[in-house]
């Protein structure tokens, strides 16, 4: 079942900039430009792209906050901007940069308000609250005023608030921004559970580890247009990404020669060999072990930042 459908959706902003002392020039920014895609129920989709690509604008249209300038948009069968209030009961949203919690009140009060605004039945509320408290480790935080929470704690609080009403879709706009490694891991673990339980997740992030660990599907947007839609392996292929074999030899030597791999760096006894990401490492390892005094080796996965950068470079060049 298609839960989210976009058909040639655009959103432009008119911005005025100073031109001369009194004159103002108006020009249009196409934040989203003829975007079409669908997301099926239960998917976990990573939605990535450089700054200003139009990710947040897309999410705001999907929640009904922003009205599209053109095109057709459907979430759970309704037009978000037209039926914003009805849709709000069926979606959960977390903006990493902005909290929906009540600043001066304990977390519990924000949840209580959600219970009443979303008309959550008591039994369901109790169960969901318990689940969130357990998975997000909110136990000690429930009675703390939100303004006293750390960023990571607050983010966990926000995640809980977005899920109390069992939304069909969860939109996350940079949910891991500013969090330390441990907090990020916790948030990811939670999102994995949420998705496994059947909630569709659309995730925007600049931390590509989020995508690697959570999303089976990646959409890349640039200048408001979809430039890639597929799985992670496909993204690697599109970005001609490479894995790296790090080899520690018994003693320094000349660059290793192995079929299908090339040396990109040598430092003493350690050498770095790059090979296409989709290719198996086994034959290369075998070839190296066969001919060189091997002490240790490890394989490094590609960094998606580079993959995307190369993809952009490719797009611009071609």
């Amino acid at each position: 079942m298609e839960l989210i459908e976009l058909d040639r959706v655009s959103r432009t902003f008119t911005v005025r900039s100073k031109a001369g002392r009194l004159r103002r020039r108006r020009h249009e920014v196409r934040a989203v430009d003829g975007l079409s895609f669908t997301v099926r129920a239960g998917e976990c989709v990573g939605y990535i792209g450089p700054n200003g690509a139009g990710k947040s604008t897309t999410i705001k249209m999907l929640t009904g906050i922003l009205v599209p300038s053109a095109g057709r948009l459907r979430v759970a069968g309704v037009d978000p901007a037209r039926e914003r209030v009805a849709l709000a009961r069926r979606i959960g949203v977390v903006f990493g940069q902005r909290t929906t919690l009540w600043w001066d009140l304990p977390l519990r009060d924000s949840y209580e308000l959600a219970r009443r605004l979303y008309r959550i039945e008591p039994a369901r509320y109790a169960a969901n609250l318990e689940r969130c408290v357990e998975l997000l480790q909110l136990g000690d935080l429930l009675d703390t005023p939100v303004r006293q929470l750390s960023l990571g704690q607050r983010m966990r609080g926000d995640l809980g608030a977005a899920l109390l009403h069992d939304p069909q879709v969860l939109y996350l706009d940079e949910p891991t921004i500013g969090l330390d490694v441990l907090s990020k891991a916790r948030v990811r673990e939670f999102l994995r559970e949420v998705n496994a339980a059947g909630t569709t997740v659309l995730l925007t992030t600049h931390d590509l580890t989020d995508i690697e660990q959570l999303c089976g599907r990646v959409m890349v947007i640039d200048h408001g247009r979809l430039v890639f839609d597929g799985d992670l392996a496909g993204l690697h292929a599109a970005g001609r990404s490479e894995r790296t074999l790090v080899v520690d030899l018994a003693r320094p030597g000349p660059p290793i020669e192995a079929p299908g791999a090339r040396v990109v760096k040598v430092a003493g006894a350690r050498q770095w060999l790059a090979f296409p990401a989709e290719q198996s490492a086994a034959p290369i390892v075998a070839a190296v072990a066969d001919r060189y005094p091997l002490q240790d080796l490890s394989v490094r996965e590609p960094v998606i930042e580079d993959v995307i950068a190369r993809m952009y470079a490719g797009a611009v060049g071609g």
Partner: protein
């Protein structure tokens, strides 16, 4: 109808949250309420001082003006109490905070109007009610059913007209961030105007607040009828009973303006 009920319920829920949030800061409610009461009594003191030197203003006696003062104060006070903070909309838009309100399954208007809700804002309608009761007592009117009706009409339609002005003019902030002053001068400024008899103002101004911003229907026109006074503009008598129609039209227009504003809302870039 269910929609309207939900708008009120969600307003009530959010208002209750704001009241709780305010108790997080331990300022004395009693002290602040007393201060509000004092401040809004000041303009009545000014009136009293004026009448120290004269016994008529524009041909009106003090109790007659008290009737204007009371009804104007109740109209603006009740509207301000229920939805006055809608004027903070521009700030919400500028900081992008409106986004989070729009995520809730409730009308945005209810959420914005409930903002920073406090019982303290009851000070003004309370003080105005006291003045009104005194005026009614001092006037010693011969009550007839049409006068009772007119008084009731003022108490209901007055707040609606002011509420519509609050919401309708605040909607301008969706398009033009600095429109707050416009709204404040029409509402708070307008309420001050209505405390004085229409006879003391220039004809152009009277035309403006009758046919432009429909303030005259809040209390001037009905009061002329209650007191049996001539209309400085010489409008037909039906106008004195037109407040319900005017209030309904104003509320409808405000609703449309709000809707148009929401559709034009552009959030912020980050």
């Amino acid at each position: 109808m269910a929609e309207l009920r939900w708008a009120v319920t969600s307003w009530r829920l959010a208002a209750a949250m704001w009241m709780r949030a305010a108790t997080a800061y331990r300022t004395s409610f009693v002290l602040l309420a007393a201060a509000s009461l004092l401040v809004c009594s000041l303009d009545f003191v000014v009136l009293l001082l004026m009448f120290h030197h004269t016994d008529r203003l524009g041909g009106w006696r003090l109790p007659e003006i008290g009737l204007l003062y009371g009804t104007a104060g109740i109209a603006i006070g009740v509207a301000d109490f229920l939805l006055g903070t809608v004027d903070g909309l521009g700030e919400r838009i500028r900081t992008g905070a409106l986004d989070t309100l729009l995520l809730r399954p409730a009308p945005a208007l209810s959420m914005v109007c409930a903002e920073r809700f406090t019982l303290r804002r009851l000070a003004r309608p309370a003080q105005a009610t006291a003045v009104l009761l005194w005026a009614l007592h001092a006037l010693d009117l011969h009550w007839s059913w049409d006068k009772v009706l007119l008084l009731a009409m003022m108490l209901v339609c007055g707040p609606v007209i002011f509420g519509a002005l609050f919401v309708g003019l605040s909607s301008v902030q969706f398009f033009w961030g600095e429109a707050r002053e416009l709204q404040n001068s029409a509402t708070y400024g307008g309420a001050t105007l209505l405390q004085y008899p229409p006879d003391v103002f220039a004809r152009d101004l009277l035309l403006g607040v009758t046919f432009g911003v429909p303030l005259a229907f809040v209390n001037w026109l009905p009061t002329l009828q209650i007191l049996g006074r001539p209309d400085p503009l010489g409008l037909p008598v039906v106008c004195r009973f037109a407040a319900p129609l005017v209030a309904a039209a104003a509320a409808g227009a405000a609703g449309l303006a709000w809707r148009a504003g929401l559709r034009a809302y552009r959030s912020t870039g980050s």
